[in-house]
């Protein structure tokens, strides 16, 4: 009896450790203030690129994108503008596409149509999205030069772009580069759910 109870406790412990009992079914992701390990993914030409080789001298912004999401389409002009502005500040944008429903050709033609001037990495089977617990597009993760997560969430507080009152990502970078504390480190917004691969 004692042995059975012990075995059940061990099984439950292992299950909790692997997030089996997690309500969302996904890990909690990267926490603000935590450093992310370097990772590598193929770009649109099939060449493997790592975070460490793509980031700028002051860090990087990972932005989860989609070729079909209308919210991303609504943000594209702002993404292009902010990515150029950030590049000048030593913070490089890196696009990630984790949508199982979007083919490489589609992502490629969309990227050239939009005119993204930063690399886009293909996250097959949403491995990176799962690791980061990325859920929607667009969703950004802003890291400093040591890969420490400083801000996670929405780019600003208005999908339409007409009534923006808070520029979450810009404010976070301005504070970090100015040596000040970031007032908002996490902001959610409505967006398209990342279309994850069906689990076998």
């Amino acid at each position: 009896m004692k042995r059975t109870v012990l075995m059940l406790a061990v099984i439950a412990g292992v299950a909790i450790a692997f997030g089996v009992f997690s309500g969302s079914g996904r890990a909690d992701g990267i926490q603000i203030g935590a450093a992310v390990e370097n990772f590598s993914l193929p770009d649109l030409n099939g060449e493997t690129k790592s975070l460490n080789e793509l980031k700028g001298k002051n860090g990087a912004v990972l932005v989860w994108l989609s070729a079909q999401c209308p919210v991303v389409k609504g943000y594209n002009d702002r993404i292009l503008e902010i990515s150029e502005e950030f590049k000048a500040k030593g913070i490089n944008f890196v696009g990630i596409n984790s949508n199982a429903t979007e083919s490489l050709d589609w992502v490629k033609s969309n990227a050239s149509e939009v005119g993204y001037k930063f690399p886009i990495l293909i996250d097959k089977n949403n491995v990176l999205a799962d690791k980061f617990a990325a859920s929607v597009t667009p969703e950004v993760y802003y890291f400093d030069a040591k890969n420490v997560l400083l801000y996670h969430g929405a780019i600003d507080n208005d999908r339409s772009g007409r009534n923006i009152t808070t520029q979450y990502l810009r404010d976070a970078a301005d504070s970090a580069l100015g040596g000040k504390a970031i007032s908002t480190t996490r902001a959610n917004a409505f967006g398209c759910t990342i279309k994850r691969a069906e689990k076998q």
Binding site: G23, S135, T193
Partner: protein
């Protein structure tokens, strides 16, 4: 006498025929009774939170938008569930479409769906705070469906497209079936 009998039989047949025609007409009227297509009500954060309080029965809430492909795919199931469960549950949907679509895109879609449930169009003052109020670990991804028990406690939630049989089973569970 013979004529009287013929008259009575003819009159009886006439009345029976008329009844049949009348009954058919009544049934046609019932079948073609115009549906009450969902009305779209614009709400702010406070009004939405007030609308998400159950009214003595389980409440199913679906967050969606016409720009969200999986939302559009699952909407016919919501319409069916709304019709099947009738008064046993309340079912409302919350559109995250642009307010400019309140008189065009959103009602046009609902009309095509033959939707009858109440529909709110959210104009949020603070999406981050509102999303966290609805569910702490909701990222804001659409579609999002939540079932509240009649006491207001969350009984089930799904971020992403729901499976119809799973949602029905969860509603049944909440109803205590």
């Amino acid at each position: 006498m013979k004529y009287a009998l013929k008259f009575l039989v003819s009159a009886a047949l006439l009345v029976a025929g008329a009844n049949c025609v009348f009954a058919q007409l009544k049934s046609d009227v019932a079948e073609t009774k115009p549906k009450v297509v969902s009305r779209v009500t614009k709400v702010d954060d406070a009004a939405l939170m007030a609308a998400l309080k159950p009214n003595g029965k389980p409440l199913v809430v679906n967050f969606w938008a016409t720009w969200c492909a999986p939302c559009i795919e699952e909407y016919p199931d919501l319409v069916k569930i709304d019709a099947e469960y009738g008064d046993k549950i309340d079912l409302v949907t919350v559109s995250l479409d642009d307010v400019a679509d309140i008189d065009t895109g959103v009602p046009d879609f609902l009309k095509r769906m033959n939707a009858e449930m109440p529909v709110y169009l959210l104009v949020s003052q603070d999406e981050t705070a509102l999303i966290a109020k609805i569910r702490k670990d909701w990222s804001g991804g659409l579609p999002f469906t939540v079932i509240y028990g009649k006491d207001g406690s969350e009984a089930y939630f799904k971020e992403g497209k729901f499976k119809s049989d799973v949602l029905r089973a969860e509603i049944d569970k909440t109803l205590g079936k």
